[in-house]
Symmetry: D2
Subunit: 281 residues, 4 copies
């Protein structure tokens, strides 16, 4: 029986593209879901075997909803894999529409923001409309009678009967996104020799030295940190938890030692997973 | 001649509400602008005297576009003031529409996300549409013939001829936002006795100990940090700058000492401003 | 059968005075020994039940020979108790000798150094002779026909038939010494509620951050350090081990956590003992 | 006119040997002085141009009296040079005395302690007498009619008409001492490209994090520490100042930056000098 893998949909998102880059996706049944929460819930409940969600974008920063879901909501899922992909935006339209005809451009506000330079110079008069995702934008453009264009992926064009009018219209070429494949916590990934561990550290209120205390566990053991991000704990402005990615696997020293010691210092350490480090991450 | 103050518009945003809470706004001419970048640009160029922008939300985290604009774009502006406001979402509709009639709800995706509970239980069948801001949503709802509702502020209702169908529809009551008033760097704010300083620290590539080095300057001088946030520097996934808010004023020790020493340790320290600390921040 | 307790002799040393201040000494058999090594050896071998040695002097610093013996030589002994005593030097002579007669002063070089002011002003013409201990000096003065004086304790005067010509002749009044009572490692001391733990940390060569790594374990857990001293490891100039005294007991958190974590960071942690903290230490 | 250089005498000490290894000593007038304080005083007053004193021994640790004199007493002198020498002890006697005849051995207690193995196995019956220095011991042995031996340097033998009965009688071969040449503060030493800086850091009472604060200034700037030693400040047991040797010159970054910042963090930083680093230090 083939695996069941969910992803943040609708079909045509960059998340689907990232999932399709994995060999595991070839023989699996894929399910687009409406929110990151839905993906996590269905992996936790066992309805899905795994799920793919976006976690970081080099321009927009972390995907807050994914971080929050992993920190505050997820309890029986772990990160098993990461995929890093260059994000290229394309201008998509119906086959009968050319660039000069376009009166409006529709996309997720982030995508629109990333293409501001192109829009200002080439489509200065087009109205800007918001959509809930780039894939939704493509669908809306396909359905409308007017000469609208969408900003999205070539996959989204294909899925909605659109064509690519212009490739790589983003302002910066260094737009990279990171996606993670989630599985059930009962099936952690064994050390591969080049791994990465993601954790969330929760600290008590009014403990100003806590971040230093956390960092010492890693710096003192020469554990290389790959990412550090503070997030409000959603209870009061100014209180934080810390998302940390580090080199190494949680089942092996020195990471295992660092985490054991950290647990005696702070409120809680939640290991989101240890998994092979993507080459380009 | 009255002062000219810009803000992130359109009229009816929470940013306008925050600006109106300041006595300085009473006698000033106010200008709604389309983007945070526009506000900063016009303060820098001298077209505006000051400008108000959102910088942090207790649920959604930092407003990335503001942080990035201050870090990478702004050069002759400083934060002069902060305003902290509880964010209350209301459901807005035309006066002739009642809750039962509503077929669609339109708002900025963040606002929609913050009211998921209300929407699921009270308007389970309504379609969800995206808008570029809560104020835009209110305008669109006012113009449409269908029975749509917007999620936004009472101010947005008033400005667009709508009425409030339901107040405080957000899932969490602890939804607080922070806004900052920007002015020209030539007019910094003198120490008030209870101040806050915001800085951005840029570090060189491949210097894993840099964050510790930064934190030591503050911890060793018993300077209380109020916020720490890492952000990608937009050049490559995994490289960061750090936004730090601390107690104290940059013109007085120990903060002045810490910043002077920090400048000899890392690539660049950009002081975004020292300003009176809001009581509820 | 009464306990057998050794101490750094000969009779009349400040170490004997410190030992006599303990109630345990009342019913014990006391044995003066020639060196700190001898005391430790005989406790280790079981010839003695316990042993008293000097470990620190507020003016002269640590007693190196005791630190080295504990760090590099002792293996089955622990510190069970500490005694802190004000050190008062007296000028001792035979009963028939008065201050004006004295032609030479004899003592351990440290004692002589601590009374430089007195010797310069009151006995400017006296020759200074070295002895291996203040007690040895008293014995030598008692045996010599010439009008010599010794610097030492009233107890040393009593034991050698001398009298005190002048009390408290030291330059500084704040001359305090610390002594420790050693017992076998099989009989550690249970937590008393106000304890102190002494450890030696050995670090690998060429690990410049090791001291910081050590200190972090304590600072991050708010463990108060009472003393820190580096000592060469006797192998090459410039390599060190660290003697650390801290508040708390090694059998209880947070000290137990700190030591467990430290063992995963550095070469070796040797616990010299946990024992009740002296009131005046 | 030739330079006047003092040293810790009497003639025949290892300090004189170290001084004679410097080319500067060839054309200078050399003055043996009784104490380290005398050497420092006469350099300060201008009676001497420079002075040589011992500062560290790989087995015995730091020379406390030198550290204290530099920390608490010296004010217008700086370290200009360091000399590192292997310390070899020899057994010295009158030419008519052979090993079998010896009834007593005389030396500074440290030297005697360093030759304990030789004395136990080869001269088990000899009495041990204390002297104020190895050079004093040689003089006393030369003057006595009995068959005494001294432990000291070949130079001391030569100066006192003794002969070397046995070379290299110390227990450990790795016995290395460090000596420093002091000059007036008005004549600091320019950077040589491979320098070392010695400082003393004084901290306020009850500031447990001060040592960490000090170390951060160096670790955060990748300044390599060569030595760290805490010493009581002679006021109360348990209060310390820190002697630190580091790579680099106080007139150049990063050391200049570290010291400037340190001055804003702690009570006082006293620079003892920047000087060329000895090859074998």
């Amino acid at each position: 029986m083939s695996e069941r893998i969910g992803y943040l949909g609708p079909p045509g998102t960059f998340t689907e593209e990232a999932l399709l880059s994995l060999s595991i996706a070839k023989s699996a049944e894929l399910f687009p879901l409406g929110t990151v929460f839905d993906v996590i819930d269905q992996v936790q409940s066992g309805d899905l075997d795994r799920g793919m969600v976006p976690i970081e974008n080099s321009i927009e920063g972390s995907v807050n909803v994914t971080l929050d879901a992993l920190a505050f909501h997820a309890s029986r899922v772990v990160i098993q894999h990461e995929v890093v992909r260059a994000i290229r935006h394309a201008l998509l339209a119906r086959p009968d529409v050319s660039l000069e005809d376009i009166v409006a451009v529709c996309s997720h506000p982030h995508a629109t923001a990333q293409c501001r330079g192109f829009l200002t110079s080439r489509l200065p008069k087009a109205e800007i409309h918001a959509a809930n995702s780039t894939a939704d934008a493509a669908r809306e453009v396909a359905e409308r009678p007017e000469a609208w264009a969408a900003i999205g992926s070539p996959l989204a064009a294909e899925l909605n009967g659109l064509v690519v009018l212009e490739n790589d219209i983003e302002d910066r070429t260094e737009n990279v996104s990171r996606f993670v494949l989630l599985g059930r916590a009962a099936t952690p990934v064994a050390p591969s020799g080049s791994d990465k561990t993601s954790v969330v550290c929760f600290i008590e209120k009014d403990r100003p030295g806590s971040l230093l205390a956390i960092l010492h566990e890693f710096s003192d053991r020469q554990i290389n940190l790959l990412k550090l991000e503070s997030r409000p704990t959603k209870e009061r402005l100014g209180e934080y938890c810390f998302f940390i990615d580090m080199e190494g696997h949680a089942a092996e020293p020195p990471v295992s030692h660092a985490l054991a010691s950290l647990r005696t210092k702070i409120l809680e350490v939640k290991v989101l997973g240890s998994y092979p480090r993507a080459r380009d991450a």
